[in-house]
């Protein structure tokens, strides 16, 4: 158990997530005990409205946990300042970026903001890290293009490069494959798998591409009405974790192929 702890980049301890307003507390999910290991690609799946976004928001300190705690590198998330957290955890969000007139290089370079001086000058090391991130995501030929010239798939790669340039132990992506075509969905997830392996970073993403996630992830977190389970995809299939995801009179999970079917 102790040895296992050392590999955990992120760990939750009896976490309850939800929203707190002045009078009422809305619990979205409770009893969350998950651990993310170093160098793994982890997929977070679950139906709409099950609380994936709420969980991700809690893990990234956008909202506070209702109870329990989130530990990053064995330190409570509360002990991290914004700047420290920015050096430990980088994000790829679903929201479009505001200024698309930036070049790809400039956008990726913004990932270095936590490390640069008061006016944001890049050192040689910064430039080397940026170029490396651009190389790892194979967007060298886009480097000098403006962001408004890119397709959705290209832009997603650029956003991943920006997160890489932030040089954090953990990268969290919120639905990185939404509104991409089949090829690009697979491409982005394969890229994430390769990055986790090559860089030793821990990458957590939420997605509705359960079939793809089963094939590519080292470990998965499945959120359903029955609770939250986290394990390797194979073990999860054996446990039947996926068959609870959707109402069974509509969609059934085929354990042999690891995919879902619509009931006729």
């Amino acid at each position: 158990m102790k040895e296992n702890n050392q590999h955990n980049i992120l760990k939750t301890d009896n976490l309850t997530v939800g929203y707190q307003s002045k009078k009422t507390q809305t619990i979205v999910a409770s009893n969350i005990n998950i651990g993310l290991n170093k160098g793994e690609l982890i997929g977070l799946v679950g139906g709409n409205g099950i609380g994936k976004s709420t969980l991700l928001k809690t893990l990234t300190k956008v909202i506070s946990p209702l109870s329990g705690q989130v530990l990053i590198n064995n330190q409570s998330l509360d002990n991290y300042s914004n700047l420290e957290l920015a050096k430990t955890l980088s994000l790829v969000l679903t929201e479009p970026i505001a200024a698309k007139n930036l070049t790809v290089f400039e956008l990726v370079a913004l990932g270095r903001q936590p490390y640069t001086n008061w006016v944001g000058n890049l050192s040689d090391t910064d430039v080397a890290i940026i170029n490396n991130a651009i190389k790892q995501t194979t967007i060298e030929d886009l480097k000098h293009k403006k962001c408004f010239e890119l397709s959705d798939g290209q832009l997603q790669k650029v956003m991943i490069a920006r997160a890489l340039a932030q040089d954090t132990d953990l990268i969290i992506l919120d639905e990185p494959t939404s509104h991409l075509d089949m090829y690009h969905k697979a491409y982005i997830l394969k890229l994430l798998q390769k990055l986790a392996k090559d860089t030793g970073k821990t990458i957590l993403f939420s997605s509705h591409e359960i079939d793809l996630a089963i094939q590519l992830c080292d470990s998965m977190i499945v959120m359903s009405d029955q609770g939250i389970v986290s394990d390797t995809p194979c073990n999860l299939i054996e446990k039947g974790a996926f068959s609870n995801l959707f109402p069974e009179d509509m969609i059934v999970f085929d354990e042999k192929t690891g995919s879902f079917r619509v009931k006729k």
């Binding site: 990234t60 956008v62 300042s81 914004n82 700047l83 420290e84 957290l85 920015a86 050096k87 955890l89 980088s90 994000l91 969000l93 929201e95 479009p96 970026i97 505001a98 200024a99 007139n101 930036l102 070049t103 290089f105 400039e106 956008l107 370079a109 913004l110 990932g111 903001q113 936590p114 640069t116 008061w118 006016v119 944001g120 890049l122 430039v127 000098h144 932030q166």
Partner: protein, 343 residues
């Protein structure tokens, strides 16, 4: 942020243009003055001035400096607001700063009859207008700051600023309704804007506050660049959103507030200059944009002022009319030529 292109040449060209226009601006007026006299007058001490030198030292030089401060200051505060609110329509006055200043001035001019007698004469001096405008914009700013420390959403601040604007506009309407024609005329003249009425004391106070505003803007550069990604990304990059927002709002208020206090509500420049600069420089990097907006703002204001004083005549057009009359077509032309807006 490193930008692949080098901007040295455009900067040098603009800087030379600025110096030339500054001299041209001084030489033009109801009497034309030659360049030699201008240069001489800079180095003559104030006791032994001839007529032309006197005009330059006490009228035209302060006016040209005011034009530079007004143009660059409004441009920069417009840039800050457009980035903060991620809205191309934002300008230096979205926070209700002008409305506050107008309210202050309206209270003094239109309300002076209420006080009557000695107080009324005192209230109508220029300094009292400056103080009233500063107080007005400062109060609105204070309200906006209090509200913005409570509100999480930056867009809400935009709406709140507009609401303050409506409220003050309504109060001004009520005041005008009960005012005499003469008072109304004086208020309208203030609304025309004016660069020429400042003496050296006023210019120095103006310049000091302006410099503090510029200092805050320079300190905001990194935050502004981070905000280009949107607030959520900026936060994930370790930016202290509330602190940067405060810094940006204070910078804008200092710049736009003093400018309105000393030169009246100058329209258009604050909204247009950042667009012109983005179109020409084609970048969103504030390390480039901030100095570029400074140069463009100063240059365009000097041109507008040179046109407004109708060289060789005794007439002077309202500067506010000129900025829009000549500025708006430039922006339209730039947008049409580029066929798309750079933001």
């Amino acid at each position: 942020m490193i930008t692949s292109k080098s901007y040295t040449i455009p900067f040098i060209v603009l800087a030379i243009l600025l110096v030339l226009l500054f001299l041209v601006n001084i030489s033009l007026g109801s009497v034309s003055i030659t360049f030699n006299t201008i240069i001489d007058s800079f180095f003559t001490n104030s006791d032994s001035l001839n007529n032309h030198q006197y005009i330059i030292q006490n009228y035209r030089l302060p006016k040209a400096i005011t034009a530079v401060l007004v143009g660059s200051g409004l441009g920069i505060s417009g840039l800050l607001m457009q980035t903060l609110f991620r809205n191309p329509l934002a300008g230096p006055f979205v926070l209700g700063i002008t409305s506050g200043a107008s309210l202050g001035v309206a209270l003094v001019i239109l309300g002076s009859s209420i006080f009557g007698g000695f107080l009324a004469t005192f209230l109508l001096t220029k300094w009292s207008l400056v103080i009233a405008a500063s107080l007005g914009s400062f109060l609105v700013l204070l309200l906006v700051l209090i509200v913005s420390s409570k509100v999480r959403d930056t867009m809400a601040i935009l709406i709140i600023g507009l609401m303050f604007g409506s409220i003050t506009a309504a109060i001004v309407s009520v005041l005008s309704y009960f005012s005499s024609a003469e008072q109304l005329q004086q208020y309208i003249f203030w609304g025309f804007g004016s660069l020429g009425d400042l003496d050296w004391n006023e210019v120095s106070i103006f310049a000091i506050i302006y410099c503090i505003g510029i200092l805050f803007s320079i300190l905001s550069i990194k935050g502004l660049n981070t905000l280009l990604l949107g607030e959520n990304y900026a936060k994930s990059l370790g930016l202290n959103i509330k602190q940067s927002r405060l810094l940006i709002i204070i910078a804008t208020s200092l710049l736009a507030g003093t400018i309105t206090a000393f030169a009246g509500p100058i329209a258009f420049i604050g909204l247009a200059i950042p667009h012109v600069t983005r179109q020409v420089f084609n970048t969103s990097n504030h390390k480039i944009l901030l100095p570029a907006v400074f140069l463009f703002g100063a240059i365009i204001m000097l041109i507008c002022d040179s046109i407004a004083q109708l060289p060789n005549t005794d007439y002077m057009l309202p500067i506010n009319a000129i900025t829009s009359l000549f500025g708006a077509p430039i922006v339209v032309w730039l947008l049409v030529r580029q066929r798309k807006m750079v933001f």
